[in-house]
Amino acid sequence: MHRFANPARFMRVSAPIVPWLAAMTAAFLLVGLVLGFRAPPDYQQGDTVRIMFIHVPAAWMAMATYSVVAAASAAALIWRHPLAEIAAQEAAPLGAAFTAVCLVSGSLWGAPTWGTWWVWDARLTSVLVLFFLYLGYIALSHAFDDPTRGSRAASVLALVGWINIPIIKFSVDWWNSLHQPASVLRLGGSTIDASILVPLLIMAVAFTLLFVLLLLLRMRAALLERKIRALQMVEAEATASSYALAGR
């Protein structure tokens, strides 16, 4: 892991990966969406079941991204790993976006099937809390004049907020809920028919690839931004000292 702590090496290694990853993401998204639209409609929900192909992968990624943020934060706190710090900070807005997609698509799905846009049930509430945890993390990391202090404080918050992840995962099993219980990953096999499960899993892979791709792009952009800022500082200092030498 420490081999990749060097930002220059990260930039070198990640550059050739990005186009391949982009092509694979596009392919999986295309196949997943085509299969999703060609899947037979549900016997009860009709065509609205297709919302699942966006909703469920977004929900998985919302939780997985938080775990990535928490793990990267732990690495940043324990080993002072500079790339882990950037990874956590750049992953958080992606997670917030996945959570927002999950909440909005769930609301759109709930309106025709449950007859309501929103219910105050355990899973919906805990995903909403997850969204606010992301917002709190992002707000805290930008709240300080010293960016290192911001990212360190946000790392501690990410670890504290990780408590919410198992609560979301198991909320539908612990509490009586309008939301259906876990049906893909459960003991005794999946309860979803293959015609719907296959596009769902392809979409899940597509969302995961999309996350990795966007994270790499964001991390590269963040590293370049830091480089530009450092160069600007050097230039400003050089100008200042040349003025000083000229005796102005």
């Binding site: 706190l77 509430t125 809390v129 606010f132 945890l133 917002l135 709190g136 707000a139 805290l140 709240a143 300080f144 004049d145 202090r149 911001g150 360190r152 404080a153 501690v156 918050l157 670890l159 504290v160 907020g161 408590i163 919410n164 609560i167």
Partner: protein, 220 residues
């Protein structure tokens, strides 16, 4: 013992300056009194919402003094000395939480019966509400210490503390209001109180750890 020295000092400061505790209670009573104007004075409606109103306003009242939990000590350098003292920083945070609870939590707890009377809470569920608040408000102070430590030196620290702490305080609210629900049986109420107790048992060691980690970063 330095632990009690910190608590005594904070209490003395709070009483001599006469600020935070009185403000928290006044905010609690005033905010709760707003609700009959907002939702209407019908006794049944008030009685049904009373426990929820009391919990939410108590939660907001304990937030008021949070951003000053470490701020004064951080600005004048006392926090550095506390860190250098032989007392582990985690225990110092615990002392801070205890004094915050004594200053902001206990007065709110004492004012609860009066507010419950004004909001026409069912007298039978008052003991469970009080017990729930007695267990739950220390958890609010403990969670608050993490938020206060994290935002030390941040821009707009006060607003940021609320944004960080409120999502984490939702479970306390859920089980606190659940325990005071008039419609449930004694056993179901006890179950909610046990979960509140579990939250306190978890927060008691974990929150000082996280808050102390955050303080160490602020002091670097």
């Amino acid at each position: 013992m330095p632990f009690w020295a910190i608590v005594r000092r904070d209490l003395r400061l709070a009483f001599r300056q006469g600020g935070d505790g009185a403000m928290a209670v006044m905010f609690f009573v005033l905010a709760a009194i707003l609700f009959p104007f907002g939702i209407g004075p019908e006794p049944e409606l008030l009685a049904r919402s009373a426990a929820g109103i009391i919990w939410v306003t108590a939660l907001l009242a304990t937030l008021l003094a949070l951003d000053r939990m470490f701020l004064g000590d951080w600005e004048d350098g006392t926090l550095e000395l506390i860190r250098l003292s032989p007392l582990p920083l985690e225990l110092a945070v615990l002392a801070k939480c205890l004094s915050h609870w004594l200053v902001a939590g206990v007065p709110v707890l004492l004012a609860t019966p009066i507010v419950a009377l004004l909001l026409r809470l069912d007298p039978a569920s008052l003991p469970r509400l009080m017990l729930g608040m007695a267990i739950g408000t220390p958890v609010l102070s403990l969670l608050g210490s993490v938020g206060a430590a994290l935002t030390l030196g941040a821009r707009r620290g006060g607003v940021l503390v609320s944004l960080l702490v409120l999502p984490l305080e939702i479970p306390v609210l859920i089980f606190g209001v659940g325990a005071a629900d008039a419609a449930i049986t004694q056993e179901a109420g006890a179950a909610h109180l046990y979960i509140l107790g579990a939250l306190l048992a978890g927060a008691l060691p974990l929150c000082p750890l996280a808050a102390a980690a955050a303080l160490r970063q602020a002091l670097e």
